[in-house]
Amino acid sequence: MVSSDDIRDLLRDSGWLTVDASELSENDDLYAAGLTSHGSVNLMLALEERFDIEFPEQLLRRRTFESIGAIRGAVAGLLGGTAAA
């Protein structure tokens, strides 16, 4: 199970964004919020560790990590469950 707040917490503690992650909506563009290419790689690795998952090759793309909603969808898919709101 993964919630948007789980992802917000991870983003807020990471220092990868230039804005406060608590104020981001589901669909806000994380790249516009300061996420860099290397930041998105670190985010990917942190999500794998936090949720004990491994992103397959086809998900290793910019779009997978573009918003909290997109991340929640991808992580939920890999956990095999449904995404919590």
């Binding site: 860099t36 290419s37 290397h38 998105s40 790689v41 990917m44 690795l45 090759e57 290793l60 793309r61 910019r62 779009r63």
Partner: protein, 315 residues
Amino acid sequence: MQSGQTQAGHGATDDPQAAFRDALVAAGLLIPTGVDGLYGRSGVFEDVVERFNDLITRWGRDDGAEVMRFPPAVARHHFERSEYLKSFPQLAGTVHSFKGDERAHQTLLRRLEEGEEWTDGQMATNVVMTPAACYPIYPTIAERGPLGGDGALVDVYSYCFRHEPSLDPARMQLFRMREYVRVGTPDQVMDFRQSWLERGRALMDSLGVPLAVDVANDPFFGRAGRMLAANQRDQGLKFELLIPITSEEKPTACLSFNYHQDHFGLLWDIRTPDGAVAHTACVGFGMERVALALFRHHGFDVRAWPGSVRAALWG
């Protein structure tokens, strides 16, 4: 023949890359050293490189770039800050030297004499091989403070090192890269890259070689690297001008046109006059690769090259 002394498991002459390399060696254009990707160049080869270098200068002259020439090494503290190790740890080359006392020297000589491992006693120096010609310019520009309204345009040329031994003569470990690097606002650097995409194609057309321009990615390391590569392609940040050299199916990147967005601007804190983080872009020319493409398509005898090509290079 020296060229046959390649590393174990290689050297098959039916390999088109090895065959072309052997032909270049036999013609005296490349001088083998016994290490794949490390070659001397003949006078004829060097003349082609120099003439091509002059041709680039002529095509870029009106832009008034500031010329900077660095030795083929960067300061280790600059290299460490550049994040090169995040993306390409497999390609980097650090310079190590002996720093021991007389006793350690004796040990070194004994190990060498007895064919034992001796390099583990070598210590890192503050010198790292230049991975791309533009690397020394970012800290240099940053040191000057905020950019002027016109930003910066720099002309660099250097030998570069990448640790990727290969039979392919177009993949050398030490090769030369000429670059123009633009630093400024996103609009300034995108205009620069677009103009060089057009100019680069026209310049190479004048040399009568078959070419194509395509979107590309850098050889980022590992799984994280696959994501960086996908990001780079998705965003169209890198284009290459490709010329077939040892393969029609897999042509060789001879020029590249790179938009780094704010990567180097953020790393080095380079600012535009209004305080925004500067963006950067560069056009890079692989000097040996272009020379090899010319030898491949026009033959090993430069006196027999087409008149238009000779005119473009030798005037």
